[in-house]
Subunit: 319 residues, 2 copies
Protein backbone atom coordinates (compact mmCIF):
# COMPACT_ATOMS: atom_id res chain seq x y z
CA UNK A 1 0.00 0.00 0.00
CA UNK A 2 1.70 3.22 -1.06
CA UNK A 3 1.03 6.67 0.35
CA UNK A 4 -0.67 7.76 -2.86
CA UNK A 5 -3.28 5.01 -2.61
CA UNK A 6 -3.79 5.67 1.10
CA UNK A 7 -4.51 9.34 0.44
CA UNK A 8 -6.60 8.94 -2.71
CA UNK A 9 -8.67 5.94 -1.63
CA UNK A 10 -8.81 5.83 2.14
CA UNK A 11 -8.30 9.38 3.43
CA UNK A 12 -9.93 11.50 0.73
CA UNK A 13 -13.49 10.52 1.74
CA UNK A 14 -12.78 12.10 5.14
CA UNK A 15 -12.87 15.52 3.43
CA UNK A 16 -16.59 14.99 2.76
CA UNK A 17 -16.02 16.59 -0.65
CA UNK A 18 -15.27 19.99 0.91
CA UNK A 19 -13.75 22.11 -1.85
CA UNK A 20 -11.24 23.72 0.54
CA UNK A 21 -9.49 20.33 0.71
CA UNK A 22 -8.59 20.76 -2.99
CA UNK A 23 -9.31 17.06 -3.51
CA UNK A 24 -6.25 16.22 -1.36
CA UNK A 25 -4.27 16.95 -4.54
CA UNK A 26 -2.32 19.99 -3.42
CA UNK A 27 0.24 20.34 -0.62
CA UNK A 28 -2.02 22.90 1.02
CA UNK A 29 -5.65 23.37 1.96
CA UNK A 30 -7.57 26.63 1.97
CA UNK A 31 -8.77 27.74 5.40
CA UNK A 32 -12.49 28.53 5.40
CA UNK A 33 -13.68 31.90 6.67
CA UNK A 34 -15.76 31.79 9.82
CA UNK A 35 -18.03 34.37 11.40
CA UNK A 36 -17.00 33.94 15.03
CA UNK A 37 -13.45 33.78 16.45
CA UNK A 38 -11.64 30.54 15.77
CA UNK A 39 -9.43 28.44 18.01
CA UNK A 40 -6.85 25.75 17.24
CA UNK A 41 -5.93 22.63 19.15
CA UNK A 42 -3.71 19.69 18.34
CA UNK A 43 -3.13 16.40 20.15
CA UNK A 44 -0.80 13.59 19.26
CA UNK A 45 -1.33 10.00 20.33
CA UNK A 46 1.63 7.64 20.32
CA UNK A 47 1.65 3.84 20.19
CA UNK A 48 3.06 2.57 23.46
CA UNK A 49 2.40 5.89 25.24
CA UNK A 50 -1.27 6.79 24.62
CA UNK A 51 -2.55 3.57 23.13
CA UNK A 52 -1.45 -0.05 23.04
CA UNK A 53 -0.06 -1.86 20.03
CA UNK A 54 -2.86 -4.37 20.58
CA UNK A 55 -5.63 -1.72 20.40
CA UNK A 56 -7.85 -2.05 17.32
CA UNK A 57 -7.07 0.60 14.66
CA UNK A 58 -10.77 1.67 14.65
CA UNK A 59 -10.50 2.48 18.35
CA UNK A 60 -7.22 4.34 17.85
CA UNK A 61 -8.74 6.51 15.10
CA UNK A 62 -11.79 7.13 17.25
CA UNK A 63 -9.65 8.18 20.21
CA UNK A 64 -7.53 10.53 18.08
CA UNK A 65 -10.64 12.47 17.09
CA UNK A 66 -12.15 12.49 20.59
CA UNK A 67 -8.92 13.72 22.22
CA UNK A 68 -9.13 16.85 20.09
CA UNK A 69 -12.90 17.33 19.91
CA UNK A 70 -12.90 17.30 23.70
CA UNK A 71 -10.53 20.30 23.78
CA UNK A 72 -12.72 22.29 21.40
CA UNK A 73 -16.04 21.53 23.16
CA UNK A 74 -14.46 22.44 26.53
CA UNK A 75 -13.79 25.96 25.22
CA UNK A 76 -17.40 26.65 24.25
CA UNK A 77 -16.65 26.07 20.57
CA UNK A 78 -17.69 23.69 17.79
CA UNK A 79 -15.23 21.69 15.67
CA UNK A 80 -15.14 22.95 12.08
CA UNK A 81 -12.10 21.55 10.21
CA UNK A 82 -9.43 18.93 10.92
CA UNK A 83 -5.96 18.10 9.60
CA UNK A 84 -4.30 14.70 10.03
CA UNK A 85 -0.66 13.74 10.44
CA UNK A 86 -0.39 9.99 10.17
CA UNK A 87 3.00 8.40 10.78
CA UNK A 88 2.32 4.74 10.04
CA UNK A 89 4.56 1.70 10.58
CA UNK A 90 5.87 0.06 7.39
CA UNK A 91 4.19 -3.15 8.46
CA UNK A 92 0.67 -1.67 8.61
CA UNK A 93 -1.53 -3.04 5.82
CA UNK A 94 -4.29 -1.33 3.86
CA UNK A 95 -7.05 -2.96 5.90
CA UNK A 96 -5.62 -1.58 9.12
CA UNK A 97 -5.38 1.91 7.57
CA UNK A 98 -9.01 1.59 6.42
CA UNK A 99 -10.03 0.58 9.94
CA UNK A 100 -8.20 3.61 11.32
CA UNK A 101 -10.05 5.87 8.86
CA UNK A 102 -13.36 4.24 9.80
CA UNK A 103 -12.77 5.04 13.47
CA UNK A 104 -11.95 8.64 12.52
CA UNK A 105 -15.11 8.92 10.40
CA UNK A 106 -17.29 7.40 13.10
CA UNK A 107 -16.04 9.73 15.83
CA UNK A 108 -16.29 12.94 13.84
CA UNK A 109 -19.80 12.02 12.68
CA UNK A 110 -20.84 12.30 16.34
CA UNK A 111 -19.61 15.90 16.59
CA UNK A 112 -20.91 17.77 13.58
CA UNK A 113 -19.06 15.67 10.99
CA UNK A 114 -16.45 18.36 10.30
CA UNK A 115 -14.29 17.79 7.20
CA UNK A 116 -10.65 16.72 7.23
CA UNK A 117 -9.13 19.34 4.91
CA UNK A 118 -5.55 18.12 4.62
CA UNK A 119 -2.58 16.56 6.29
CA UNK A 120 0.43 14.38 5.75
CA UNK A 121 1.19 10.66 5.69
CA UNK A 122 4.62 9.27 6.46
CA UNK A 123 6.03 5.85 7.19
CA UNK A 124 8.25 4.78 10.05
CA UNK A 125 10.14 1.73 11.19
CA UNK A 126 9.17 2.78 14.73
CA UNK A 127 5.88 3.30 16.56
CA UNK A 128 2.69 4.70 15.08
CA UNK A 129 2.28 8.43 15.83
CA UNK A 130 -0.99 10.17 14.97
CA UNK A 131 -1.83 13.85 15.26
CA UNK A 132 -5.04 15.68 14.61
CA UNK A 133 -5.17 19.45 14.45
CA UNK A 134 -8.64 20.84 14.85
CA UNK A 135 -10.04 24.30 14.23
CA UNK A 136 -13.12 25.28 16.23
CA UNK A 137 -15.47 28.23 15.94
CA UNK A 138 -16.61 29.78 19.21
CA UNK A 139 -20.30 29.84 20.04
CA UNK A 140 -20.03 33.09 21.97
CA UNK A 141 -17.87 36.08 21.14
CA UNK A 142 -14.73 34.47 22.57
CA UNK A 143 -13.43 31.09 23.73
CA UNK A 144 -13.68 30.14 27.41
CA UNK A 145 -10.10 29.87 28.62
CA UNK A 146 -8.47 27.86 31.35
CA UNK A 147 -7.44 31.07 33.07
CA UNK A 148 -10.81 32.77 33.63
CA UNK A 149 -11.80 31.46 37.08
CA UNK A 150 -13.18 34.06 39.51
CA UNK A 151 -13.10 34.01 43.31
CA UNK A 152 -16.43 32.62 44.53
CA UNK A 153 -17.09 30.58 41.38
CA UNK A 154 -18.50 27.11 41.81
CA UNK A 155 -16.44 24.29 40.31
CA UNK A 156 -18.25 21.76 38.11
CA UNK A 157 -17.37 18.61 36.24
CA UNK A 158 -19.30 16.88 33.45
CA UNK A 159 -19.91 13.12 33.33
CA UNK A 160 -17.88 10.73 35.48
CA UNK A 161 -14.21 10.46 36.38
CA UNK A 162 -11.78 7.56 36.49
CA UNK A 163 -13.15 4.99 34.06
CA UNK A 164 -10.13 5.25 31.73
CA UNK A 165 -7.67 4.39 34.51
CA UNK A 166 -9.66 1.29 35.47
CA UNK A 167 -10.09 0.29 31.81
CA UNK A 168 -6.37 0.48 31.18
CA UNK A 169 -5.60 -1.49 34.35
CA UNK A 170 -7.94 -4.23 33.06
CA UNK A 171 -6.08 -4.35 29.74
CA UNK A 172 -2.78 -4.52 31.62
CA UNK A 173 -4.09 -7.52 33.60
CA UNK A 174 -4.07 -5.64 36.92
CA UNK A 175 -7.87 -5.85 37.33
CA UNK A 176 -10.42 -8.45 36.25
CA UNK A 177 -11.95 -7.25 32.96
CA UNK A 178 -15.22 -9.05 33.73
CA UNK A 179 -15.83 -6.63 36.59
CA UNK A 180 -15.32 -3.46 34.55
CA UNK A 181 -16.72 -3.84 30.98
CA UNK A 182 -17.87 -0.22 30.74
CA UNK A 183 -14.52 1.11 31.91
CA UNK A 184 -12.78 -0.90 29.19
CA UNK A 185 -15.27 0.51 26.69
CA UNK A 186 -14.49 4.06 27.90
CA UNK A 187 -10.76 3.45 27.54
CA UNK A 188 -11.26 2.22 23.97
CA UNK A 189 -14.01 4.58 22.83
CA UNK A 190 -14.11 7.60 25.12
CA UNK A 191 -17.40 9.43 25.25
CA UNK A 192 -16.98 13.13 24.73
CA UNK A 193 -19.61 15.66 25.76
CA UNK A 194 -22.01 16.65 22.95
CA UNK A 195 -22.19 20.04 21.23
CA UNK A 196 -24.90 21.06 23.73
CA UNK A 197 -22.19 21.03 26.42
CA UNK A 198 -20.17 23.53 24.35
CA UNK A 199 -23.23 25.80 24.32
CA UNK A 200 -23.58 25.53 28.10
CA UNK A 201 -19.88 26.35 28.58
CA UNK A 202 -20.13 29.31 26.20
CA UNK A 203 -23.11 30.67 28.11
CA UNK A 204 -22.17 30.12 31.74
CA UNK A 205 -18.49 29.26 32.28
CA UNK A 206 -15.80 31.68 33.41
CA UNK A 207 -13.01 29.09 33.02
CA UNK A 208 -13.12 25.69 31.33
CA UNK A 209 -10.81 22.89 30.25
CA UNK A 210 -10.86 19.31 29.12
CA UNK A 211 -9.65 16.90 31.82
CA UNK A 212 -6.89 15.00 30.11
CA UNK A 213 -4.17 14.86 32.72
CA UNK A 214 -6.22 14.06 35.82
CA UNK A 215 -8.86 16.08 37.67
CA UNK A 216 -6.50 17.21 40.44
CA UNK A 217 -3.60 18.21 38.21
CA UNK A 218 -5.86 19.96 35.73
CA UNK A 219 -7.72 21.85 38.46
CA UNK A 220 -4.40 23.02 39.84
CA UNK A 221 -3.45 24.34 36.40
CA UNK A 222 -6.78 26.14 36.24
CA UNK A 223 -6.62 27.93 39.57
CA UNK A 224 -3.05 29.23 39.18
CA UNK A 225 -2.55 31.78 41.99
CA UNK A 226 -6.10 31.33 43.34
CA UNK A 227 -7.25 28.58 45.66
CA UNK A 228 -9.90 25.88 45.40
CA UNK A 229 -11.83 23.77 47.87
CA UNK A 230 -12.80 20.41 46.48
CA UNK A 231 -15.24 18.03 48.18
CA UNK A 232 -13.98 14.50 47.48
CA UNK A 233 -17.36 12.95 48.30
CA UNK A 234 -18.98 14.91 45.47
CA UNK A 235 -16.73 13.67 42.67
CA UNK A 236 -18.91 11.65 40.27
CA UNK A 237 -17.97 8.08 39.39
CA UNK A 238 -19.60 5.41 37.28
CA UNK A 239 -21.03 2.39 39.13
CA UNK A 240 -17.95 0.40 38.19
CA UNK A 241 -15.52 3.08 39.33
CA UNK A 242 -17.51 3.53 42.54
CA UNK A 243 -16.75 -0.12 43.40
CA UNK A 244 -13.08 0.63 42.90
CA UNK A 245 -12.88 3.93 44.80
CA UNK A 246 -13.34 2.37 48.21
CA UNK A 247 -10.47 4.13 49.94
CA UNK A 248 -8.73 7.47 49.69
CA UNK A 249 -5.74 5.96 47.92
CA UNK A 250 -7.71 4.28 45.15
CA UNK A 251 -9.89 7.40 44.79
CA UNK A 252 -6.70 9.42 44.31
CA UNK A 253 -5.60 7.09 41.54
CA UNK A 254 -8.82 7.84 39.66
CA UNK A 255 -8.74 11.60 40.08
CA UNK A 256 -5.06 11.83 39.13
CA UNK A 257 -4.95 9.66 36.04
CA UNK A 258 -6.61 11.53 33.20
CA UNK A 259 -8.05 10.52 29.84
CA UNK A 260 -11.48 11.34 31.28
CA UNK A 261 -12.52 13.52 28.32
CA UNK A 262 -14.79 15.45 30.64
CA UNK A 263 -15.03 19.19 31.15
CA UNK A 264 -13.90 20.95 34.30
CA UNK A 265 -15.40 24.44 34.55
CA UNK A 266 -16.22 27.23 36.92
CA UNK A 267 -19.24 29.51 36.97
CA UNK A 268 -20.73 32.23 39.16
CA UNK A 269 -23.13 30.88 41.85
CA UNK A 270 -26.07 32.69 40.22
CA UNK A 271 -25.93 30.22 37.31
CA UNK A 272 -26.29 27.08 39.42
CA UNK A 273 -29.95 26.39 38.70
CA UNK A 274 -29.56 26.88 34.96
CA UNK A 275 -26.51 24.61 34.86
CA UNK A 276 -28.12 21.86 36.92
CA UNK A 277 -31.24 21.96 34.76
CA UNK A 278 -29.35 21.68 31.47
CA UNK A 279 -30.14 17.99 31.02
CA UNK A 280 -26.42 17.14 30.90
CA UNK A 281 -24.76 15.13 33.68
CA UNK A 282 -23.04 17.88 35.65
CA UNK A 283 -21.82 17.79 39.25
CA UNK A 284 -20.80 20.67 41.49
CA UNK A 285 -17.63 19.55 43.25
CA UNK A 286 -16.15 22.64 44.86
CA UNK A 287 -15.51 26.34 44.99
CA UNK A 288 -12.84 28.81 43.89
CA UNK A 289 -11.35 30.73 46.83
CA UNK A 290 -8.94 33.62 47.02
CA UNK A 291 -5.68 31.78 47.63
CA UNK A 292 -3.99 28.79 49.17
CA UNK A 293 -3.82 26.38 46.26
CA UNK A 294 -5.84 23.21 46.10
CA UNK A 295 -7.52 22.04 49.34
CA UNK A 296 -9.28 18.69 49.43
CA UNK A 297 -12.03 17.87 51.88
CA UNK A 298 -13.42 14.50 52.86
CA UNK A 299 -16.42 14.31 55.21
CA UNK A 300 -15.89 17.97 56.02
CA UNK A 301 -12.24 17.53 57.04
CA UNK A 302 -9.29 18.81 55.06
CA UNK A 303 -7.01 16.04 53.79
CA UNK A 304 -3.36 16.23 54.72
CA UNK A 305 -1.60 15.12 51.52
CA UNK A 306 1.72 14.29 53.13
CA UNK A 307 0.29 12.50 56.11
CA UNK A 308 -1.82 10.32 53.84
CA UNK A 309 1.12 9.76 51.51
CA UNK A 310 -0.84 11.19 48.58
CA UNK A 311 0.42 13.05 45.56
CA UNK A 312 -0.64 13.78 42.02
CA UNK A 313 1.27 14.67 38.89
CA UNK A 314 1.37 17.95 37.00
CA UNK A 315 2.00 16.47 33.63
CA UNK A 316 1.25 18.59 30.62
CA UNK A 317 1.77 18.18 26.91
CA UNK A 318 -0.76 20.23 25.03
CA UNK A 319 -0.05 23.94 24.57
Amino acid sequence: MDEFAIIAEILKPLSGGDENALGFKDDIAILPKFTKPTIYTTDTIVEGTHFLKSDAPEDVGYKLIMANVSDIIAKGAEPRAGFLNLCLPHSMDANAVKALANGIAEAKALHGDFPILGGDTTVTNGNMVLSLSLIGETIGEKPILRSGAQIGDDIYVTGVIGDAKIGLDCLFGKLDPDNYPKCIEHYKRPKVQPLSAAKLIAKYANAAMDISDGLLGDLQKMIMALGAELDLEKIPYSKEADQYAICLKSMFELISFGDDYQILFTSAPINEDAIMQSGLQITKIGKIIQSGGLKLFSNGKEIDFERNNLSFSHKIGDF
Copy 2:
Protein backbone atom coordinates in the same frame (compact mmCIF):
# COMPACT_ATOMS: atom_id res chain seq x y z
CA MET B 1 13.34 16.83 31.68
CA ASP B 2 9.59 16.75 31.93
CA GLU B 3 7.12 18.01 29.33
CA PHE B 4 6.16 20.94 31.52
CA ALA B 5 9.72 22.25 31.63
CA ILE B 6 10.16 21.66 27.89
CA ILE B 7 7.08 23.73 27.12
CA ALA B 8 7.62 26.49 29.67
CA GLU B 9 11.35 26.98 29.22
CA ILE B 10 12.33 25.79 25.77
CA LEU B 11 9.29 26.09 23.51
CA LYS B 12 7.49 29.15 24.91
CA PRO B 13 10.06 31.62 23.53
CA LEU B 14 9.12 30.37 20.03
CA SER B 15 5.77 32.16 20.44
CA GLY B 16 7.62 35.49 20.39
CA GLY B 17 5.22 36.65 23.10
CA ASP B 18 2.27 36.59 20.70
CA GLU B 19 -0.85 36.88 22.85
CA ASN B 20 -2.78 34.40 20.69
CA ALA B 21 -0.48 31.68 22.06
CA LEU B 22 -2.05 32.29 25.51
CA GLY B 23 1.39 31.86 27.04
CA PHE B 24 1.34 28.15 26.05
CA LYS B 25 -0.82 27.72 29.16
CA ASP B 26 -4.06 26.62 27.54
CA ASP B 27 -4.82 23.54 25.43
CA ILE B 28 -5.78 25.85 22.57
CA ALA B 29 -4.48 28.88 20.75
CA ILE B 30 -6.55 31.65 19.21
CA LEU B 31 -6.27 31.92 15.44
CA PRO B 32 -5.44 35.46 14.36
CA LYS B 33 -7.63 37.21 11.81
CA PHE B 34 -5.97 37.95 8.49
CA THR B 35 -6.95 40.27 5.67
CA LYS B 36 -6.17 38.01 2.72
CA PRO B 37 -7.20 34.36 2.25
CA THR B 38 -5.25 31.90 4.38
CA ILE B 39 -3.81 28.50 3.52
CA TYR B 40 -2.69 25.60 5.70
CA THR B 41 0.11 23.12 5.20
CA THR B 42 1.60 20.46 7.42
CA ASP B 43 4.65 18.25 6.98
CA THR B 44 5.97 15.56 9.27
CA ILE B 45 9.59 14.48 9.40
CA VAL B 46 10.45 11.09 10.85
CA GLU B 47 13.75 9.85 12.24
CA GLY B 48 15.03 7.09 9.98
CA THR B 49 12.77 8.18 7.10
CA HIS B 50 13.37 11.93 6.54
CA PHE B 51 16.41 12.47 8.70
CA LEU B 52 19.12 10.35 10.25
CA LYS B 53 19.47 9.52 13.92
CA SER B 54 22.96 10.97 13.63
CA ASP B 55 21.75 14.36 12.31
CA ALA B 56 22.26 17.25 14.73
CA PRO B 57 19.01 18.33 16.46
CA GLU B 58 19.61 21.95 15.29
CA ASP B 59 19.59 20.74 11.70
CA VAL B 60 16.48 18.63 12.25
CA GLY B 61 14.59 21.61 13.70
CA TYR B 62 15.79 23.79 10.84
CA LYS B 63 14.62 21.26 8.26
CA LEU B 64 11.20 20.88 9.89
CA ILE B 65 10.57 24.60 9.45
CA MET B 66 11.96 24.76 5.92
CA ALA B 67 9.90 21.78 4.70
CA ASN B 68 6.75 23.71 5.57
CA VAL B 69 7.84 27.26 4.74
CA SER B 70 8.72 25.99 1.28
CA ASP B 71 5.11 24.85 0.72
CA ILE B 72 3.73 28.25 1.75
CA ILE B 73 6.18 30.34 -0.34
CA ALA B 74 5.47 28.13 -3.37
CA LYS B 75 1.80 29.13 -3.22
CA GLY B 76 2.46 32.86 -3.36
CA ALA B 77 1.86 33.24 0.37
CA GLU B 78 3.75 34.31 3.48
CA PRO B 79 4.04 32.19 6.65
CA ARG B 80 2.07 33.72 9.54
CA ALA B 81 1.63 31.19 12.38
CA GLY B 82 2.98 27.73 13.18
CA PHE B 83 1.99 24.84 15.45
CA LEU B 84 4.40 22.11 16.57
CA ASN B 85 3.81 18.44 17.33
CA LEU B 86 6.96 17.06 18.90
CA CYS B 87 7.08 13.33 19.62
CA LEU B 88 10.43 12.96 21.38
CA PRO B 89 12.30 9.80 22.41
CA HIS B 90 12.49 9.15 26.17
CA SER B 91 16.26 9.22 25.87
CA MET B 92 16.44 12.77 24.47
CA ASP B 93 17.94 15.19 26.99
CA ALA B 94 17.15 18.86 27.62
CA ASN B 95 20.19 20.06 25.68
CA ALA B 96 19.08 18.18 22.59
CA VAL B 97 15.57 19.65 22.89
CA LYS B 98 17.11 23.12 23.24
CA ALA B 99 19.21 22.52 20.13
CA LEU B 100 16.08 21.43 18.25
CA ALA B 101 14.30 24.64 19.34
CA ASN B 102 17.33 26.72 18.29
CA GLY B 103 17.18 25.23 14.79
CA ILE B 104 13.47 26.02 14.64
CA ALA B 105 14.07 29.60 15.77
CA GLU B 106 16.92 30.13 13.33
CA ALA B 107 14.95 28.87 10.33
CA LYS B 108 11.79 30.83 11.02
CA ALA B 109 13.80 34.02 11.62
CA LEU B 110 14.78 33.79 7.94
CA HIS B 111 11.15 33.84 6.78
CA GLY B 112 9.38 36.60 8.62
CA ASP B 113 9.88 35.13 12.11
CA PHE B 114 6.28 33.96 12.40
CA PRO B 115 5.20 32.90 15.91
CA ILE B 116 4.63 29.32 17.06
CA LEU B 117 1.17 29.64 18.62
CA GLY B 118 0.69 26.17 20.08
CA GLY B 119 1.22 22.46 19.75
CA ASP B 120 1.77 19.26 21.63
CA THR B 121 4.71 17.38 23.12
CA THR B 122 4.69 13.64 23.65
CA VAL B 123 7.28 11.01 24.43
CA THR B 124 7.92 7.73 22.68
CA ASN B 125 10.09 4.68 23.08
CA GLY B 126 10.37 4.69 19.28
CA ASN B 127 11.67 7.15 16.68
CA MET B 128 11.43 10.93 16.85
CA VAL B 129 8.48 12.27 14.83
CA LEU B 130 8.12 16.02 14.32
CA SER B 131 5.28 17.90 12.62
CA LEU B 132 4.86 21.55 11.88
CA SER B 133 1.55 22.97 10.73
CA LEU B 134 1.85 26.35 9.12
CA ILE B 135 -0.74 28.95 8.23
CA GLY B 136 0.10 31.31 5.38
CA GLU B 137 -1.59 34.45 4.13
CA THR B 138 -1.75 34.88 0.38
CA ILE B 139 -0.08 37.90 -1.22
CA GLY B 140 -2.63 38.09 -4.03
CA GLU B 141 -6.35 37.46 -3.80
CA LYS B 142 -5.90 33.66 -3.88
CA PRO B 143 -3.21 31.00 -3.49
CA ILE B 144 -1.44 29.68 -6.60
CA LEU B 145 -2.42 26.03 -6.81
CA ARG B 146 -0.70 23.02 -8.28
CA SER B 147 -3.58 22.59 -10.71
CA GLY B 148 -3.54 25.95 -12.53
CA ALA B 149 -1.20 25.22 -15.49
CA GLN B 150 -2.39 26.50 -18.88
CA ILE B 151 -1.52 25.14 -22.32
CA GLY B 152 1.36 27.20 -23.72
CA ASP B 153 2.73 28.17 -20.28
CA ASP B 154 6.48 28.13 -19.81
CA ILE B 155 7.77 25.87 -17.04
CA TYR B 156 10.26 27.37 -14.57
CA VAL B 157 12.23 26.18 -11.62
CA THR B 158 13.95 28.24 -8.91
CA GLY B 159 17.49 27.57 -7.67
CA VAL B 160 19.26 24.29 -8.38
CA ILE B 161 18.15 20.66 -8.31
CA GLY B 162 19.74 17.51 -6.91
CA ASP B 163 22.02 18.69 -4.11
CA ALA B 164 20.03 16.88 -1.40
CA LYS B 165 20.39 13.50 -3.12
CA ILE B 166 24.17 13.91 -3.38
CA GLY B 167 24.42 15.18 0.20
CA LEU B 168 22.56 12.16 1.53
CA ASP B 169 24.70 9.77 -0.54
CA CYS B 170 27.78 11.36 1.05
CA LEU B 171 26.38 10.80 4.54
CA PHE B 172 25.60 7.18 3.60
CA GLY B 173 29.21 6.72 2.51
CA LYS B 174 28.31 6.21 -1.15
CA LEU B 175 30.14 9.35 -2.28
CA ASP B 176 33.26 11.11 -1.00
CA PRO B 177 32.09 13.96 1.29
CA ASP B 178 35.20 15.99 0.48
CA ASN B 179 33.97 16.39 -3.09
CA TYR B 180 30.50 17.66 -2.18
CA PRO B 181 30.62 19.94 0.91
CA LYS B 182 27.84 22.25 -0.35
CA CYS B 183 25.54 19.33 -1.12
CA ILE B 184 25.97 18.04 2.43
CA GLU B 185 25.19 21.54 3.68
CA HIS B 186 22.03 21.61 1.55
CA TYR B 187 20.93 18.24 2.90
CA LYS B 188 21.42 19.47 6.48
CA ARG B 189 20.22 23.05 6.11
CA PRO B 190 18.11 23.36 2.99
CA LYS B 191 17.88 26.84 1.51
CA VAL B 192 14.33 27.86 0.85
CA GLN B 193 13.43 30.68 -1.52
CA PRO B 194 12.91 34.07 0.18
CA LEU B 195 9.61 35.91 0.58
CA SER B 196 10.40 37.82 -2.64
CA ALA B 197 9.90 34.51 -4.49
CA ALA B 198 6.40 34.26 -3.02
CA LYS B 199 5.66 37.72 -4.41
CA LEU B 200 6.89 36.67 -7.87
CA ILE B 201 4.74 33.51 -7.76
CA ALA B 202 1.70 35.51 -6.64
CA LYS B 203 2.16 37.97 -9.50
CA TYR B 204 3.07 35.72 -12.43
CA ALA B 205 2.44 32.01 -11.82
CA ASN B 206 -0.57 30.05 -13.09
CA ALA B 207 0.48 26.88 -11.22
CA ALA B 208 3.14 26.40 -8.57
CA MET B 209 4.40 23.81 -6.13
CA ASP B 210 7.33 23.05 -3.91
CA ILE B 211 9.55 20.29 -5.29
CA SER B 212 9.69 17.81 -2.46
CA ASP B 213 9.27 14.46 -4.22
CA GLY B 214 11.54 14.97 -7.25
CA LEU B 215 11.28 17.35 -10.19
CA LEU B 216 9.91 14.72 -12.57
CA GLY B 217 7.33 13.22 -10.23
CA ASP B 218 6.16 16.64 -9.04
CA LEU B 219 5.89 17.99 -12.60
CA GLN B 220 3.79 14.98 -13.53
CA LYS B 221 1.46 15.72 -10.60
CA MET B 222 1.21 19.31 -11.81
CA ILE B 223 0.32 18.65 -15.43
CA MET B 224 -2.41 16.07 -14.70
CA ALA B 225 -4.23 15.52 -18.03
CA LEU B 226 -2.06 18.06 -19.89
CA GLY B 227 1.37 17.41 -21.37
CA ALA B 228 4.81 18.93 -20.79
CA GLU B 229 8.01 19.11 -22.76
CA LEU B 230 11.08 19.32 -20.58
CA ASP B 231 14.56 20.12 -21.84
CA LEU B 232 17.00 18.08 -19.74
CA GLU B 233 19.95 20.29 -20.71
CA LYS B 234 18.26 23.31 -19.17
CA ILE B 235 17.78 21.85 -15.68
CA PRO B 236 19.93 23.90 -13.29
CA TYR B 237 22.51 22.19 -11.08
CA SER B 238 25.06 23.46 -8.61
CA LYS B 239 28.73 23.10 -9.62
CA GLU B 240 29.00 20.03 -7.40
CA ALA B 241 25.87 18.39 -8.81
CA ASP B 242 27.03 19.24 -12.32
CA GLN B 243 30.12 17.10 -11.74
CA TYR B 244 27.84 14.26 -10.72
CA ALA B 245 25.26 14.52 -13.51
CA ILE B 246 27.61 13.28 -16.20
CA CYS B 247 25.25 10.73 -17.76
CA LEU B 248 21.53 10.38 -18.27
CA LYS B 249 21.22 7.82 -15.48
CA SER B 250 22.89 9.96 -12.80
CA MET B 251 20.98 13.03 -14.00
CA PHE B 252 17.77 11.04 -13.55
CA GLU B 253 18.73 10.22 -10.00
CA LEU B 254 18.98 13.93 -9.25
CA ILE B 255 15.70 14.95 -10.85
CA SER B 256 13.77 12.10 -9.27
CA PHE B 257 14.97 12.33 -5.68
CA GLY B 258 13.34 15.36 -4.09
CA ASP B 259 14.09 17.43 -0.98
CA ASP B 260 15.11 20.25 -3.33
CA TYR B 261 12.95 22.86 -1.57
CA GLN B 262 12.70 24.74 -4.86
CA ILE B 263 9.60 26.00 -6.62
CA LEU B 264 8.30 24.55 -9.85
CA PHE B 265 5.91 26.93 -11.58
CA THR B 266 4.32 27.78 -14.88
CA SER B 267 3.58 31.19 -16.35
CA ALA B 268 2.29 32.67 -19.62
CA PRO B 269 5.08 33.44 -22.15
CA ILE B 270 4.34 37.18 -21.91
CA ASN B 271 5.81 37.21 -18.37
CA GLU B 272 9.20 35.78 -19.33
CA ASP B 273 11.17 39.04 -19.26
CA ALA B 274 9.73 40.10 -15.91
CA ILE B 275 10.43 36.69 -14.38
CA MET B 276 14.01 36.51 -15.69
CA GLN B 277 14.73 40.03 -14.43
CA SER B 278 13.44 39.36 -10.92
CA GLY B 279 16.92 38.99 -9.44
CA LEU B 280 16.10 35.47 -8.23
CA GLN B 281 17.80 32.41 -9.72
CA ILE B 282 15.10 31.13 -12.05
CA THR B 283 15.48 28.83 -15.07
CA LYS B 284 13.01 28.13 -17.86
CA ILE B 285 13.10 24.38 -18.39
CA GLY B 286 10.13 23.54 -20.59
CA LYS B 287 6.62 24.17 -21.81
CA ILE B 288 3.09 22.98 -21.05
CA ILE B 289 1.44 21.33 -24.06
CA GLN B 290 -2.07 20.09 -24.66
CA SER B 291 -1.65 16.41 -23.87
CA GLY B 292 0.63 13.39 -23.92
CA GLY B 293 2.03 13.44 -20.40
CA LEU B 294 5.63 14.23 -19.62
CA LYS B 295 8.08 14.25 -22.57
CA LEU B 296 11.79 14.67 -21.90
CA PHE B 297 14.21 16.00 -24.51
CA SER B 298 17.99 15.79 -24.56
CA ASN B 299 19.92 17.59 -27.28
CA GLY B 300 16.67 18.05 -29.17
CA LYS B 301 15.75 14.35 -29.16
CA GLU B 302 12.96 12.82 -27.11
CA ILE B 303 14.16 10.33 -24.51
CA ASP B 304 12.71 6.84 -24.63
CA PHE B 305 12.26 5.99 -20.93
CA GLU B 306 11.99 2.25 -21.38
CA ARG B 307 14.83 1.91 -23.83
CA ASN B 308 17.11 3.84 -21.47
CA ASN B 309 15.84 1.83 -18.51
CA LEU B 310 14.72 5.01 -16.74
CA SER B 311 11.88 5.53 -14.33
CA PHE B 312 10.88 7.87 -11.55
CA SER B 313 8.61 7.53 -8.56
CA HIS B 314 5.25 9.16 -7.93
CA LYS B 315 5.53 9.25 -4.19
CA ILE B 316 3.27 11.60 -2.32
CA GLY B 317 2.55 12.25 1.32
CA ASP B 318 1.38 15.80 1.78
CA PHE B 319 -2.29 16.54 1.11
